[in-house]
Subunit: 199 residues, 2 copies
DNA sequence: GCAAATTAATGATTTATTCAAG
DNA sequence: CTTGAATAAATCATTAATTTGC
């Protein structure tokens, strides 16, 4: 392939440095006007289009998050193997039956005073956990498979027919493989591409 | 930090996933019986109490709404940053934030009326992605030095005046409207590494 | 040293999900 | 109930790094 007909943008070191500096400064998903300016200034250092800037931030953010997610999963899995579920654990710890009153009062006894709790949000998106086999089907409360359990919960939660969302089959529990389905090696479909791009 | 010394609940990935699945399925404010059951099942995966479940739903719902609200406000506000200092390269072209969608909207302009067109996915693999000319930048003439320019970009990107540098430990305020507060790894660049000057 | 072969990074696309407006 | 807008996740595809045999 001729170098003049490169099919995708190849950032120059200066462009990359500036993009990373912007990212480091907090920009994650720039909008149209920002993309426009960034593109204009980065074009001083080489050929670039707005879509390149857009894609760069998308990918960088996603892969940053992916990295962090993987790190956290590893940490959490190595930290505590979570002993229990031995005997009568199906007794939950002391739910005062006035919990429903919280819904009315909406004032927790220990007020979370405005600050943002980070922990759930950090790892709040999809990820594929790896459940050791000893956690699979042992406890008496796990007789129901979790999909069924979830369905029953949703059933209770939605007595009125307001949410008929199809509830696409999300894999809550990976079946057997201890594979965190990342690192997808792209040896799957390597058919040759068309020879002459119309550039 | 050891989990035994942790003063607050730290959800395991399994717990978090199940909670999010329940949330996605429509549960927003579970009542006492639901909380009880959810807690019972989640306790298979780690230490948890009913109040954790309760608070999780409260917080998740609130932050979901907050995120949406801020996103909408932001994207409305970012339509007018055009009265900055000097803008002789400002083009009236409107770059939407979703560049990728333009492949759908743009390339098959329905040449044949009255016939169902072939689904774009069928032919999209060998499609030569060329952004229409209205997205292409003209050669910029702005010569602001990159530091000042970067600051202005960050200014736009950060409506909150409190964070203009990466906080290493904990970030209480979201920098952009829609991001999840993950921390970045600064060493992702292979071509250049910036020695983090602003400290 | 060098290319061919292989692997890792990353740019570019597609798909799915969300909320809310119509 | 449908659709629009936005974007995150997943995937595809190409380039760069690197490994390997010579």
């Amino acid at each position: 392939m001729s170098p003049s007909t490169s099919s995708r943008w190849c950032p120059t070191p200066e462009q990359l440095m500036i993009l990373e500096e912007l990212y480091r400064s907090g920009i994650r998903t720039p909008h149209a006007s920002q993309i426009q300016r960034i593109t204009a200034h980065l074009s001083l250092y080489g050929k670039i289009e707005g879509k390149n800037v857009f894609y760069w931030f998308q990918n960088h953010k996603a892969r940053d998050r992916q990295k962090l997610r993987r790190k956290l999963i590893k940490q959490l899995q190595q930290q505590q193997p979570y002993h229990h579920h031995h005997h009568h654990l199906e007794q939950p710890q002391h739910i005062p039956s006035n919990y429903h009153l919280f819904n009315y009062f909406d004032h927790p006894p220990t007020p979370i005073s405005g600050e943002i709790e980070v922990a759930p949000q950090v790892i709040s998106h999809n990820w594929k956990p790896e459940i050791p086999s000893r956690f699979k089907m042992e406890s008496p409360t796990m007789r129901m498979c979790s999909h069924d359990w979830m369905m029953s919960m949703v059933d209770i939660g939605l007595p009125s027919p307001c949410c008929n969302r199809p509830l696409k089959t999300l894999e809550l529990f990976p079946m057997t493989a201890t594979n965190v389905k990342e690192e997808h090696t792209n040896t799957s479909s390597k058919h040759l591409s068309l020879p002459t791009p119309t550039n």
